[in-house]
């Protein structure tokens, strides 16, 4: 018996290990492909990274020296091989725009985006799911109409405009929230970077003044971003829920005299949970890529703006480093939602 159990355990471990290995291989290949595509596109676009470094007025000798320094006189394949070699050693090179190691830059901008995207997603889920369910339960009645209008506005209004108006009203006129940026200028440098997420760092340090200031700064941009998640999540929730509410098991449950709340929140909810996780994960991942326009309006030093600035300056080290981060985010989020599926759906175990 013990032997049999042991054998069974070994088999499972082996299966687990092989699954892990194939997963790792898949991730590596994905990232390598991503790197190659970004690298070669970056080298064929007609932007000259040397000019981005030396500027308009540089004489030829300066130009040539920097070109050699950047390794751009080497054949393309050699450049790629050198780059991949460096990446494997954990060296993503130096950004031309900030003059600092790309890893250091990303360690600074990614937490800013993470903070914004996470709060926006929390807002999106907290409002979007109940709204979507309300829309489904009262289909074609007034709550549904309201949800539809909110969804439509969320889809059609440009986020740039919404951000400016939000700032004007809630910061400029009402003064309910703090202004642009992650922190008030006089709060900077008080809390040491631990995670880079200011809300967490200030809470860990017990600096509640800083925490309140940071919260005042993050609330509006995350609400603006979150609004778009709300629109998306509410719409999807509504249609998933509508489908479930027309199923026979729902009729049966109702016929048995089960409360409507139990029917909706327990029975139907369990059946839409997996789909919902997919939708939320996708919307979260999209936000983690960075939201350039929102970051620009709110002077938020996040990944989106970092990548855009880098791209326009042909700063390929920064672009490639950022692309890897985005790739890893998607892999990570996929992995997380796979685990959640297994938790939520017994059939997937």
């Amino acid at each position: 018996m013990a032997l049999a159990a042991g054998g069974l355990g070994d088999g499972r471990a082996a299966r687990g290990a092989s699954r892990l290995a194939s997963f790792a291989l898949q991730v590596t290949l994905t990232l390598l492909g991503l790197l190659a595509v970004t690298f070669f596109i970056g080298r064929v676009v007609p932007i000259d990274p040397v000019l981005a470094v030396v500027g308009d007025q540089a004489p030829r000798d300066v130009y040539e020296a920097v070109r050699r320094e950047l390794g751009l006189d080497q054949p393309l394949w050699t450049q790629f091989a050198i780059y991949v070699g460096q990446v494997l050693r954990g060296d993503f090179g130096t950004s031309l725009v900030t003059n600092r190691p790309v890893t250091e830059d990303i360690a600074r901008v990614f937490p800013a985006t993470l903070e914004l995207a996470t709060l926006a997603t929390i807002i999106g889920v907290a409002l979007g799911v109940p709204m979507g369910i309300a829309g489904a339960v009262w289909q074609d009645r007034w709550p549904d109409q309201i949800v539809r209008v909110i969804g439509l506005v969320g889809y059609s209004v440009p986020i740039f405009w919404l951000g400016i108006v939000g700032l004007l009203v809630f910061y400029g006129i009402l003064g309910w929230v703090e202004g642009p940026g992650r922190l008030g200028v006089f709060f900077e440098g008080i809390v040491d970077d631990v995670t880079g997420v200011i809300l967490i760092d200030s809470a860990l340090a017990g600096e509640w003044e800083v925490f309140r200031n940071a919260l005042g700064h993050v609330i509006l941009p995350s609400a603006v971003l979150g609004y778009f998640s709300v629109a998306y999540i509410a719409r999807m929730t509504r249609s998933f829920m509508l489908e479930q509410l027309s199923q026979e098991y729902v009729v049966t449950a109702r016929a048995k005299g089960m409360s409507e709340a139990r029917v909706v929140w327990v029975h139907a909810m369990r059946n839409i949970a997996v789909q919902l996780v997919t939708v939320i994960a996708l919307s979260y991942a999209r936000l983690l890529e960075g939201a350039v326009l929102t970051e620009t309006v709110f002077a938020w030093p996040g990944l989106g703006r970092y990548l855009t600035t880098a791209l326009l300056a042909a700063d390929m080290n920064a672009v490639l480093g950022g692309t890897i981060v985005v790739g890893l985010v998607f892999v990570g989020i996929n992995l997380l939602s796979d685990l959640l599926y297994k938790l939520l759906d017994p059939r997937a175990r």
Binding site: P46, I47, D48, L51, A52, V53, G55, Q57, A58, P59, R60, D61, V62, Y63, A65, L96, V97, T98, N99, R108, A126, L127, M131, A134, V137, I164, L167, L168, Y171, G172, G175, W176, V177, E178, G179, P180, G181, G184, V185, F186, E188, G189, R212, G216, I219, A223, R254, M258, S259, A261, V263, V264, W265, V297, A299, P301, Y306, T309, A313, A314
Partner: protein, 534 residues
């Protein structure tokens, strides 16, 4: 089925979610402290903090307030007026090539180290040794990496000798030594922190200076913070702290200013300025800067190489409309290559918008039915806007202009490769001397490919002007030198393929209780140390 209970549950859940999102927040009353100057600006083009590497205005704005240079230009004088800096005075040898600089005594760096001739020698050689972009300015007067040891020497505890390859005009050398590249760094401190790069990486994050402020914090694309140097030899600044925060969007800068969270909004649009003008508590300031805007024509193009065509184009720019309607407050009309407030300035504006004259000239050139041209431009403000305005004004004279916008770096590569017909661009002065621009606009030594020179990029063949430009570089007498540049400019106005149409000024909005702050100065940088608040 009990729908009532269900609805209540749903409403409760939704209500809780709403409540948590709309967390009430209170905020402190907005006003910056009296001892701090807070500026909202676009600083994402700040690449280098090493004064011997930095080569953009945003960098100078910071570095000129942190480092002292050998000479300075009086920030309060309306036109270029040289002042001693860390160099108190100098003598020139009989052959005119060797300058002996007397270094100010009793100056201390922020670190507490005393500034001596050793620091000056180190700081003069260092730009050549690290050899970044601005080093070409020193190379243009014959200082090189190879001869740095021999040409830059200590001749006393507070005396330094520099030997150039020619007997350059003293004003040229003084003006060159007001530039950021002539900043004196704290040799001991730099060497303590230097790797193999002569402290280049370290100085890109820290300062080793003796100037008005000390750099205490810098985050690329976010902000920098300066702290006052109480022991500054010129007398300490009024403000204890200067904070410059990167705010990319103009509308956001304006909101910050209106709320009183910043004292200065540095990059506003003409629309924002118009809306803020006359608002109580806010003032508008304008500061000329050494940057000109121009259009140029490639002389290797058969159509454009006809002087009559160029003359016609010069009559098709609506100079006044650009200055008054398109870029009000951001530029003023200017038609030559030496900016106003620089030695040799010439306020001659012979051209005005005259489509009839242009048509006549084109007909004389054999283009009675007009011509079609392309103009390359960066896809950004203000070049793109000006190019579009010119499309309309050129059309009135029978010139069909096709605007070809692309990213700045893309357009520049095409321009440097001489693949353009017309190009519209901006040219900034690297150091406040006429030679800097003359070297690019009116010098094109035959037989040399030099994409750094605008005359070369436009295939403008000018042996005579090249000689005059070389001669002006050597004229020892300041007034005679200015006269030479005026003559060069007269010739430039008549025959060059350059259509200079405006000089830029920085237009800022500030809180009314702020005075003395300068967004730009004759020394080509912002001045923070004169700022005060009531």
């Amino acid at each position: 089925m009990s729908p009532r209970l269900g609805k209540r549950a749903l409403i409760l859940t939704g209500g809780a979610a709403l409540g948590s999102a709309a967390l009430p927040l209170t905020r402190a009353a907005a006003q910056t402290p009296r001892t701090a100057l807070v500026i909202a600006a676009q600083i994402d083009d700040l690449v280098a903090l090493d004064p011997h590497q930095s080569f953009e205005v945003t960098g100078s704005d910071l570095l000129k307030n942190v480092y002292d240079q050998l000479f300075a230009l009086d920030p309060t004088a309306p036109s270029a007026s040289l002042q001693p800096g860390l160099c108190e005075g100098f003598t020139v040898s009989d052959d005119g090539r060797t300058f002996t600089l007397r270094i100010r005594q009793g100056v201390r760096f922020h670190s507490g180290n005393t500034l001596t001739a050793d620091d000056v020698v180190f700081s003069l050689r260092r730009p050549l040794l690290i050899n970044r972009t601005p080093a070409f300015m020193y190379r243009s007067v014959g200082l090189t990496r190879e001869n740095a040891e021999a040409t830059i020497r200590k001749s006393g505890d507070f005396e330094v000798q520099v030997t150039f390859d020619k007997a350059y005009a003293p004003t040229l050398i003084q003006n060159l030594f007001t530039a950021t590249i002539a900043s004196v760094v704290d040799q001991k401190l730099v060497q303590q922190n230097a790797g193999e790069d002569l402290g280049n990486a370290w100085l890109n994050r820290n300062s080793a200076a003796s100037g008005a402020f000390r750099l205490t914090r810098y985050q690329p694309n976010e902000s920098y913070m300066l702290e006052r140097n109480d022991a500054w030899w010129r007398g300490r600044a009024v403000m204890q702290r200067v904070i410059v925060r990167h705010v990319p969007e103009a509308a956001t800068q304006r909101l910050l200013l209106e709320r009183g969270d910043v004292d200065v909004a540095r990059n506003l649009t003409p629309t924002d300025i118009a809306a803020l003008r006359g608002r109580s508590g806010i003032t508008i300031g304008e500061f000329p800067r050494g940057t000109i805007q121009y259009v140029c024509a490639n002389m290797s193009d058969p159509t454009l190489s006809n002087p009559k065509v160029i003359e016609a184009l010069k009559s098709l720019i609506d100079y006044d409309a650009i200055a008054n309607n398109l870029l009000p407050g951001q530029v003023f009309p200017h038609q030559t290559f030496i900016p106003r407030a620089i030695l040799g300035e010439l306020d001659s504006r012979p051209y005005r918008f005259d489509p009839e004259r242009a048509k006549r000239l084109l007909a004389e050139a054999g283009h009675a039915n007009g011509i079609s041209l392309t103009i390359d431009t960066a896809n950004s403000f203000p070049s793109l806007d000006c190019a579009q305005a010119m499309q309309a004004s050129f059309a009135q004279g029978g010139v069909r202009l096709e605007v070809l916008p692309a990213t700045g770096a893309q357009v520049l590569a095409k321009y440097r490769a001489r693949n353009h017909q017309l190009f519209i661009g901006i040219w900034g002065l690297g150091y406040p001397d006429p030679h800097y621009n003359a070297d690019s606009f009116t010098s094109n030594p035959p037989g040399q490919a030099n994409p750094g020179k605008l005359a070369w990029r436009n295939a403008w063949d000018i042996p005579g002007l090249t000689q005059q430009t070389d001669a002006a570089m050597l004229e020892r007498d300041g007034n005679a030198r200015a006269a030479l540049y005026r003559r060069i400019q007269e010739e430039f106005l008549g025959s060059s393929p350059f259509l200079v149409f405006a000089q830029q000024q920085v237009q800022v909005a500030a809180r009314a209780n702020l005075s003395g702050y300068m967004a730009s100065s004759p020394g080509l940088s912002a001045i923070y140390w004169l700022a005060a608040k009531t």
